[in-house]
Amino acid sequence: MILAATGPEIAFWGFAVVAGIAGFFVVGSRNVVHAALYLVGVLGSVGAIYIVLGAEFVGWVQILIYVGAIVVLLLFGIMLTKAPIGGVALDNNQRPVAFIVAATTFGGLTWIIWRTFGGTRIRLSPTRTAQIGNSLFTHFVLPFEAVSVLLLAALVGAIVLARRD
């Protein structure tokens, strides 16, 4: 590892460590609400990493949508189901198997990544938001429309599923 790290690299490392540790607590916590809060930690740090990597727009969208809406929705679900929040076993009896699978996945992926991209350097510079907008509404306008239809379908589907009648 190079000792002369630049500012963005230090920032990346800080947020990456926070994201990793909080990630472990998400799957290890014995309390559902605490797990959701650790998830906020992961998502927020990942958002900050996007900004460090130059994706300013994606970073703030991550905070706005993931932290501000998705996790709040999850908390809402936790409170609404009034299911036991802590104390009872939140894990099933597959933990050893799950651990082996996860460790193998991580080991395999890391091996492949370092073999393939071990020497690749990236230059960090911000992407202009206008560039993303232009590209979204010219090159990707069809996927964009498809996603909007998908969101509409999800909205209708969620209402149909959750309403009492």
């Binding site: 998400v26 990942v46 994706a55 189901t81 933990r95 990236i122």
Partner: protein, 101 residues
Amino acid sequence: MNLAWPLTLGALLFSIGVYGVLARRNAVLVLMSIELMLNAVNVNLVAFSTWIRETIAIGQIFALFVITIAAAEVGIGLAIVLLIFRNRETINIDEIDLLKW
């Protein structure tokens, strides 16, 4: 910065998500683990976007799409969880075994 580091972070988050999906029995916690895995994919997309640096920012666009789809997925997922809770009074996925006997 070395491209491999963000990718390794992605791999780590993905593996944590895999562990969570396999080991958790509370449906909301499984949803959270899926979010972790989706985020790991996004880290990779943004990192590659920074590496390739093409003008259409394809990686970031797809990260946005993934975020949108994650929102839709959580909405539907929670609706299903609510429905299951209403009918079965539990959201432990190993007790939801109506199709087994």
